[in-house]
């Protein structure tokens, strides 16, 4: 293999590039990034960066003395993959020919139809999004967050600490029920009320009002919530449109085997855009977690370099964390399919506890609030049980 193109320059793409070099690949390495920035860490965008506690330099994922001997094409959006020509076509007309490809184009924040072009309406995915939102939050006023998921909850928490008047609107009866289940979703999202943030559940958003700038969020039950700033946090969609017609199989992202291989030889996919086969569950699923974007590229790179000669290990249970209102929330495993969840340590009311999800008596997931030490031990146990 003489040239590898990594398409995507965030954590998954950078991790793949690092793994290529670590595994001895010494050929040409081209890293293509849609954003103009060098790889940066996204989790702080809704937390410390948004709060103004850390700056842009603190977000850099590369260390000062790191040199991957790569050609960086930044601010260059991939527009197509020509499998016959073995080339990535860029939006500006350039082409990058390669023998191996790592697809790491990530996901984009979903938007609400009809909200484009209205000032004061934000989403949060990129550094540029975070800069714009940070500047607006600094003005204070009333913030309405649409979506009570992790991004929405973290923005609400940060804005609350900055002194804004915050309301969170969630369409489902309980926020976070998808990842955490109803019971624990309710407990975790009770943090909003603890800190004087209004949480409105089970009601959809009909639209936004305002001439050039938003002034209210209109709910489907007829209520109107006054707003100076609105954040739309309603999930993300995989950035794979550019692969349509390329021959790479797509199904809610790039469809991949348990080792990251796509339907095309010499092409692997990693990170938020990739839907890997999960041999435990027997299904493909996209895992939109930082930890997956950091760990899985090494498996995919091993696949790319050997194409089938290396057996993939069993994937570790997915792990993610969230920081809200000074509380450390950690979760590992899959809650879907659990038939029970029990608090093993601490008290939910104290916002310091650990809960274990079980299926037929076997632990399948673990959730903790402010219990990092105990959580770490349970996470290791869960990993050992599934490997």
């Amino acid at each position: 293999m003489r040239t590898v193109a990594v398409v995507g320059a965030s954590l998954a793409g950078l991790s793949a590039a690092r793994s290529l070099r670590k595994r001895g690949y010494d050929g040409r390495l081209v890293i293509i990034g849609d954003e103009p920035h060098r790889p940066y860490d996204r989790p702080p965008l809704s937390k410390e960066f948004l709060a103004g506690d850390i700056g842009e330099a603190d977000l850099a994922l590369e260390s000062d003395d790191e040199d991957l001997q790569a050609e960086w094409l930044l601010g260059a959006r991939a527009a197509g993959l020509d499998s016959a020509d073995r080339a990535v076509r860029l939006a500006d007309g350039r082409e990058v020919r390669a023998d191996g490809f790592v697809i790491a184009t990530g996901a984009a924040a979903r938007t609400l139809p009809g909200t484009d072009g209205l000032a004061g309406v934000h989403r949060l995915r990129t550094l540029d999004d975070a800069r714009a939102l940070r500047d607006e939050l600094a003005l204070g006023g009333r913030l309405v967050v649409i979506g009570g998921g992790f991004i929405g909850a973290e923005v609400a928490s940060t804005a609350c600490a900055l002194g804004l008047d915050v309301t969170v609107v969630e369409a489902a009866p309980t926020p976070l029920a998808g990842p955490l289940g109803e019971t624990m979703g309710g407990i975790v999202s009770a943090l909003h009320a603890d800190h004087g943030v209004r949480l409105l559940c089970g009601v959809g958003v009909k639209g936004l009002s305002g001439e050039s700038r938003v002034d209210a969020v209109l709910l489907e039950d007829g209520r109107s919530i006054p707003a100076d700033t609105v954040v739309v946090g309603v999930g993300a969609r995989p950035c794979v449109e550019w692969l349509e017609g390329s021959g790479v199989a797509l199904d809610n992202g790039v469809k991949c085997g348990a080792d990251g291989r796509t339907s095309l030889a010499g092409v692997v996919a990693v990170g938020d855009c990739a839907s890997w086969y999960d041999p435990h569950a027997g299904i493909h699923r996209r895992v939109e977690h930082w930890t997956g974007a950091r760990e899985r590229p090494d498996v995919a790179v091993a696949t790319l370099l050997s194409w089938g000669a290396v057996e993939p290990g069993v994937p570790r249970p997915p792990y993610f964390w969230s920081d809200q209102y000074g509380v450390k929330i950690q979760f590992a495993g899959h809650s879907a399919g659990a038939d029970s969840v029990t608090v093993e340590e601490g008290v939910p009311g104290d916002r310091s506890f650990l809960a274990v999800y079980r299926r037929a008596g076997h632990p399948v997931a673990v959730l903790a609030m402010n219990q990092p030490r105990l959580f770490m031990r349970w996470r290791k146990q869960l990993t050992a049980a599934t490997s």
């Binding site: 954590l11 860490d41 989790p43 410390e48 506690d53 850390i54 603190d58 850099a60 994922l61 260390s63 930082w290 930890t291 950091r294 792990y319 964390w321 450390k328 950690q330 990092p372 030490r373 959580f375 770490m376 031990r377 290791k380």
Partner: protein, 119 residues
């Protein structure tokens, strides 16, 4: 030299946090060696004494960066900078730590707090 704890009170595989400023963690590895490093992860305010000890490495309990107890070096992001290591002495069954004279590598939030800035 700062006395930390008795060696018999620190089983192998466990860590002891010394509440000095900034805090220091003493680790007793499965091989019976004792090391001391800064307790705070260089990425964010996490206690490495709460982490996972394996061989001569401790994994941060929050975001999975691993630090080498012998050198302080970090293996992978999100942490980018090493932790300080400290000299350890065991005398009459007591573990002592001689704090490093180098400047600590603390995460931005903690560093500003220690400098007397806003918490």
């Amino acid at each position: 030299m700062i006395p930390a704890c008795l060696l018999v009170d620190l089983p192998r595989g466990e860590a002891y946090r010394l509440d000095i400023d900034p805090p220091v963690s003493v680790f007793h590895t499965d091989d019976g060696e004792v090391f001391a490093i800064d307790d705070t992860c260089t990425h964010q305010d996490a206690s490495l004494a709460d982490g996972w000890l394996e061989g001569c490495e401790v994994e941060c309990p929050l975001h999975a960066s691993k630090f080498d107890l012998r050198t302080g070096a970090v293996d992978a992001p999100p942490a980018k900078r090493p932790v300080r290591t400290h000299e350890v002495l065991i005398e009459d069954g007591m573990i002592y730590v001689r704090p490093s004279t180098e400047a600590p590598d603390l995460p931005p939030c903690v560093a500003s707090r220690l400098a007397g800035g806003p918490a």
